[in-house]
């Protein structure tokens, strides 16, 4: 195999490192490799696909993985495109590579990764340019009992189902808000789990006021209708404008209490009902992974990486595509990845790209961005969700910091931002580095959710850190 860091080989073609092998990273890889650029694709998983197209482990030998998926033909096209370029030597696909830092130097970029699953052995890849397709992760707001085993994120339930063909119990409630809840509920039901209820806090009437952007995507509306039919077939009860107010159990989840919401997004007391379940799959939307971009100095636009029309960040040589630039689903990620890959290929070869060449993808991108902006205003957690967070509810799961402790830091000690709350309470200081609790702490503190600066995207052994950047001794 050719060594991508071999200067003789590197001199032949410009080299692009794509980080993330989900829809955006795969589309970018295929687009760039088709246009005279050598690509190294790095991803933490054992197989390409990311979260949306997460595949069952190869050794499980699933003969019908498409039963777990949507848009399967698109996936086959992507996967075959990747294989063709890998076979031709234009793409090197590095699986089980957990990227923790991308460094910009005078002669290009160094991508630092840890080999999984142990994540102790370091790997460095040098490249002329970098394309960040790091995806997103799920936002979950706290409520009493949400730390009980059996309470999982909606995306987590789906990941365990798609990747490991595993479910955590027999009876599930799917709850929260957002378009992800539909495939999670229908997916669990198809896999034999009794889905006792789909609890969505959004008001279906809110869709009516936004018909413009929504109706501009007939395919998406048909997709929604398809889910509705599947929910009906599996006899899943849909409770709209409802929320889970508490999860019950001692050593594990035994039941949840759900309640209706009033027009202001407050729980209607006296109207609660208890549903027995051993699994609660809950989610309140998605957040972009922006750690690598942040350390590179890329400008963020709110919580997402800023990109221009070509998907370039404001750091020369760094492109970004997919959920890291804003949450919008797999079709948007594909369009952005395609544009980013073409732009990067053209510029790495010293030519000015012609945006007319990707006009179709740009049109899809514009439409889907408008569509998801409209969805975002419909799918919202209950306006007064913080009222359900009792003082003894754990908010920071890692450091076991309660809602009461956060409130005390705010009311009595004057904390007004995430960083000050962290310094006073340890909320956000644990293993996950505030990825899970930040939205909750921001809500309780009444401050804006701002992206955290995390120099490294994942925990790094000190020995690796000490040796990073040293010349290799072989």
């Amino acid at each position: 195999m050719t060594d991508p860091n071999d200067p003789n080989h590197a001199a032949v073609l410009p080299h692009l490192a794509v980080i993330g092998a989900g829809p955006a990273g795969l589309a970018a890889t295929v687009a760039a490799a088709s246009r005279g650029v050598r690509v190294t694709l790095l991803d933490s998983a054992a197989q390409e696909g990311g979260q949306f197209y997460r595949q069952p482990a190869a050794e499980l030998r699933a003969r019908r993985p498409q039963a777990l998926h949507h848009e399967w033909r698109t996936w086959e096209r992507l996967r075959n495109g990747l294989r063709t370029h890998v076979d031709a030597g234009a793409v090197r696909h590095l699986t089980d590579h957990h990227v923790w830092l991308v460094e910009r130097g005078s002669e290009g970029f160094t991508v630092h990764a840890l080999l999984g699953p142990e994540q102790e052995e370091p790997v460095e890849v040098r490249a002329d340019a970098v394309l960040l397709a790091t995806g997103g992760y799920e936002k979950v707001l706290p409520f009493p009992g949400w730390t009980l085993p059996g309470v999982v994120t909606a995306g987590g339930a789906q990941a365990m189902l798609k990747g490991a063909l595993a479910v955590s119990g027999r009876t599930a409630v799917v709850a929260g808000t957002g378009p992800l809840l539909l495939p999670v509920a229908t997916g669990l039901a198809a896999a034999g789990v009794e889905v006792a209820a789909l609890v969505e806090s959004a008001d279906p009437k809110a869709f009516a006021g936004r018909t413009g952007a929504l109706a501009a995507q007939p395919g998406k509306l048909a997709e929604g209708a398809g889910y509705a039919a599947r929910l009906l077939r599996h006899r899943v009860k849909v409770l709209a404008r409802h929320t889970v107010v508490e999860a019950h159990g001692t050593e594990r989840l035994e039941a949840v209490t759900v309640a209706a919401l009033d027009g202001d997004g407050r729980v209607r007391h006296g109207r609660e009902r208890r549903i027995a379940c051993d699994t609660l799959a809950v989610g309140h939307g998605m957040l972009p992974h922006t750690d690598l971009a942040g350390t590179l100095g890329c400008r963020l636009d709110g919580l997402a990486v800023y990109v221009d029309e070509e998907q370039r960040t404001d750091v020369p040589g760094v492109w970004a595509a997919g959920e890291t630039t804003g949450i919008g689903g797999s079709a948007l990620s594909l369009a952005e990845g395609h544009i980013a890959g073409r732009s990067a290929a053209a510029r790495l070869r010293g030519t000015e790209p012609d945006p007319r060449a990707w006009a179709a993808a740009a049109k899809v991108r514009d439409r889907l961005r408008a569509f998801f902006a409209a969805l975002d205003s419909v799918y919202a957690p209950p306006a007064h969700w913080t009222e359900q967070v009792t003082d003894d509810t754990v908010v920071c799961r890692c450091e076991e910091v309660t809602g009461g402790a956060v409130r005390q830091a705010v009311a009595e000690l004057g904390a007004g931002d995430l960083r000050t709350v962290k310094l006073l309470t340890r909320a956000g200081m644990g293993w996950c580095q505030g990825r899970v609790c930040a939205p909750a702490v921001a809500g309780l503190a009444g401050c804006e959710l701002t992206p955290s600066r995390r120099p490294f995207a994942r925990p790094v052994p000190l020995g690796v850190l000490a040796r990073a950047g040293e010349p290799e001794s072989d």
Binding site: G156, A159, V436
Partner: protein, 100 residues
């Protein structure tokens, strides 16, 4: 009842044995610690540092670190990421996993 394995028509190789706190459980080739434990009906395998509360899978994709577990005497492994091999010894992790 239909299972995910049936839904995806999976034909995995033969199951092998691993242990959870000394008790034998079955795992399928390449199955993660979390998946094997779920299949064995186990949903918690960690006690938190502060209150000793039970925890298991939460995010399922390696972000939240809630599913930390000790595998072959190495503490703080993410059960949702680490695949099992025949004979692996999984142990419930109490606290930091470094003082037992």
């Amino acid at each position: 009842m239909r299972s995910p394995v049936e839904l995806a028509d999976a034909q995995p190789g033969p199951a092998f044995t691993v242990t959870l706190d000394g008790r034998e459980i079955e795992a399928l080739p390449s199955q993660t610690v979390a998946a094997a434990l779920w299949a064995a009906g186990v949903t918690s395998w960690r006690g938190t540092r502060g209150e000793g509360r039970p925890r298991g899978v939460f995010c399922g994709i390696g972000v939240c670190f809630d599913c930390l577990v000790t595998v072959n005497d190495r503490p703080n492994q993410r059960a949702c990421l680490v695949p099992l091999h025949p004979g692996d010894a999984i142990r419930t992790q109490e606290g930091t996993g470094h003082h037992d």
